[in-house]
Amino acid sequence: MLSPEMNDRLTRVGPGTPGGELMRRYWIPIAPAAQLLEDPVRKIRILGEDLTLYKDKSGQLGLIGERCAHRLVDMQWGIPDEHGLRCPYHGWRYDETGQCTDTPLEAADSSFKERINIGGYPVQEMGGLIFAYMGPLPAPLLPPWDLFVWPNAVRQIGVTVIDCNWLQCQENTGDPTHGIWLHGYLFQYVLEKLGEEQRLRDLGDAFVKNSVGIKGLYANNTEYGMEKGVVFSKELGAERDYRSRHSTVIFPFYTEQNAAGAPWSEFQIRVPIDDTHTYHISYGCYAAPPGIEAPKQDVIPYYEVPIWDENGKPVLDCILNQDFIAWWSQGALVDRSKEKLGRTDTPVIFLRRQLADQIKVVEDGGEPMNVFRDPATMPEILFGGGNPSNEWVAPDWVTRARFNGNNNRLNYHKGGAERESDRYGAAVPLVAELHRRIEEAQKRGVVTV
């Protein structure tokens, strides 16, 4: 439960809000770079600000104000110039800082343009995504989180606009047991209704079995965020006493499923568009095992994950979409003063406190976690979820397969990529080709399973 005041503090992201000021300390992924190949000028709304993203003819990226200063025409209809973006109405041109650099119909000796600036934010590209920094300068370093830079992998980027506040999406990561129902019993119910008997058999009790033997949940800080999981007890019916670690949070808005080097790993990035909309990025990374070359990609493709089918009904036969509907159905901005948290919400409470703590750090003039400024100490790859498990990056495919073979979602040899929301992505054939190469290598004895 949160007071209405604390709820606002954690969720609202506009300029000048406590949460918004925190968010403005980070590089924020705002679009797949591939989108600018289709159209080099795009309207972008992020942290409650309306902006224009463009790539000019020289290849320079820019993120500038929404409207031309002249007659307030929307710059999303602008014309990319060799250097900068021109307003389509009278040709006023702006560079990536928002500075007006040309007013072609004004007097030749006019200094008017020098007095005009519509604002601009730094942008950079990494791993097929464009990142913006909207905070106080100088901007920090863009962190090379592992999935963005892991070599020898196929990647694809799923994007979705969800009509709810970003924290509802992120809290999903602090909730390790929701899968029992949302991805277990609901999934079974949906597949039964669809008559998908084979999928129902494949799903089996992969998720619902985790309802047995829960002793409690735990959470703890990590270097880059938090991790959490479920404590299972043999005495309560579990197969043995153990702790099951769930996905990792990379502060402030990343979730990492698995880790770099796994056959399938994913960032789920919950980018606040504004207080009641989230730009959800599913960043899929399908790593090749040692000895296998992943198919080359000139461009990391993007795809839109549909929430609704052609009949206006929610798409519920894949895990990510089940999550989407749960977050959306909580309401545009859930009133947490009315919730009743159960024991399974311990990590959710932890996640909120970490967020509240970091907001306070910024308010007190400090630097929040995961802001990096020293290039000399920045590694080439940052393992946000912690150092990858040996099971994920083991040099032999046998060890990896043993880990990944027991989870229906991870076992792409059984068609996971075709069945999950990844199926909408353009890289799925490349993932299939990667697996064909693996199987061929297995036959040749290059890798063994």
Binding site: M1, G216, Y218, N221, K340, D345, T346
Partner: protein, 67 residues
């Protein structure tokens, strides 16, 4: 064992205090697994969930069902 006041709930039947209890002993794992206690009319009851503790505090004090 750490015990911090988490919430005070006032209603027509009195005031209940909700505490968050954590094991901060040296031997404890670094994982955070809190419990919650409700103190009302001299008695203390422990719960594993925040929501149940607050709901009990609201019910015993007759406070409305909000924060």
């Amino acid at each position: 064992m750490g015990r911090e006041q988490y919430l005070s709930v006032q209603g027509p039947k009195g005031t209940a205090t909700v505490y968050e209890v954590t094991d901060d002993s040296a031997s404890a794992s670094r994982a955070w697994e809190p419990a919650y206690e409700v103190e009302f009319s001299g008695s203390v009851t422990r719960y594993t969930s925040e929501g149940e503790a607050i709901t009990v505090a609201q019910q015993v004090t007759g406070a409305p069902d909000n924060y």
